[in-house]
Subunit: 225 residues, 2 copies
DNA sequence: ATTATCTATAGATCTATAGATAATGC
DNA sequence: ATTATCTATAGATCTATAGATAATGC
């Protein structure tokens, strides 16, 4: 009895792993190929061979290159949106607003540093396709905005308390994203000019971005608008 | 005599225009196609047809797709480098350092706004090609740096005068570029979220970027590094 | 019986060139 | 004689599928 059950469990785990193996391997290889070369530059033959399967398998599981790509883009878009939401919420309680923003910037910077090629890939494929563009905008509106609204409440408190100056939420978010994303995307160009190693580079840029945003939020400077 | 000379001049002008016409038209069409679709996504047949010439002409003048692309990328890279240098030098005398930086940010923002698709195109094609990457880095070093050094001298003066806080030049430049470039690249995503029209959008982002950098340079805040 | 995999190849597309023909400038 | 242009097609590459064969789960 016990042996049978054990075998079943092992079988199921094994099965699940094996049965999805080819499909999963194709997906993983496709992810790499698409993110590195974009849709037009990617080759289904390369994906198949680097997944270690026959080329026909790719079409067996995903029908067309387009559909496989769609899967990858959708997943990556969700990963990005989730990362923004995580950075918003993954903050412990009773922090001041300024501390919270600093934390958000750092958490998001780290996510991007771990996914260096993601921003450029998504920018490319989203901007060149109106449907995907609308999809991301609506995801931003429906998923991110509700979380952001909580932040806005806390922000108004901080303004009243005199901890920060008054600023529009979208303005602040775009500022943060701008600083973080270019630090990541353009790293291969800026790194040689900086003369730093990878770790120091990230420390330099991340902390500079935090500082820039905090100074932007500084309440002591007059707000001429 | 006079008529002959006149005819010659007209002929020469006409010739120059006509003889380079096909080549020029291909180049213009190639520029559009490559910037819009990237190297892998671009089709030489599309370039030829939108240039209004036979497909064979493209190979007659530029040998290969690669060589035609190289021409376009090189030219665009120079345009970008030049735009940075222009923004640095196109500033009238006897401005304070803070005014000068504001002017640089605005001039550069306007250039990018007039060349919306340029940054993403160059980022893509430069980052995916080590040779081009080195080329841009060395251009930055050889052409932009000398001009930037002048700025650095003026910057040190401003620090001494207490007009700005002390900041590394590269740090400042990366901050500016980050803010400006994402405002342009991500415009199609941010615009619908902002609810603004094109003109107001650019005004919003450009002035926000100036403000953020000026606050970053503010001397009254303690500099904890 | 269904699902997964392989071989072989169709079919489409794209870059590139050969070779003929026309236009141009001496 | 040289330069520019066109037609036609070679040659390479890539996506996609048909059809045969093997493996799996009932």
């Amino acid at each position: 009895m016990q042996t049978e059950m054990f075998n079943n469990i092992v079988n199921n785990l094994f099965m699940q792993e094996i049965s999805n193996n080819t499909e999963k391997q194709i997906l993983v290889a496709a992810e790499k190929e698409f993110v590195e070369r974009g849709f037009a530059g990617a080759r289904t033959t390369s994906i198949a061979s680097s997944a270690g399967v026959t080329h026909a398998m790719l079409h067996y599981y995903f029908r067309t290159k387009e559909q496989l790509f769609e899967k990858v883009v959708d997943e990556k878009m969700d990963v990005l949106v989730q990362s923004v939401m995580d950075s918003f919420s993954s903050v412990r309680e009773n922090l001041s607003f300024v501390e919270r923003i600093s934390c958000i910037i750092r958490v998001h910077y780290c996510f991007l540093a771990d996914n260096e090629r993601l921003p450029l890939f998504l920018l490319n494929e989203i901007l060149s396709n109106p449907t995907r563009k609308e999809m991301l905008v609506s995801k931003a509106r429906n998923k991110v905005l509700p979380v952001a609204v909580q932040l806005e409440t806390q922000m108004r408190d901080a303004v009243v308390k005199g901890e920060i100056c008054s600023i529009d939420l979208l303005t602040l978010v775009v500022d943060i994203i701008s600083l973080n994303i270019i630090s990541i995307i353009a790293k291969p160009l800026i790194l040689p000019l900086s003369g730093l190693d990878d770790e120091r580079y990230h420390n330099w840029r991340c902390e500079e971005n935090v500082r820039t945003i905090l100074l932007r939020l500084n309440p002591t400077v007059s707000n001429d608008e």
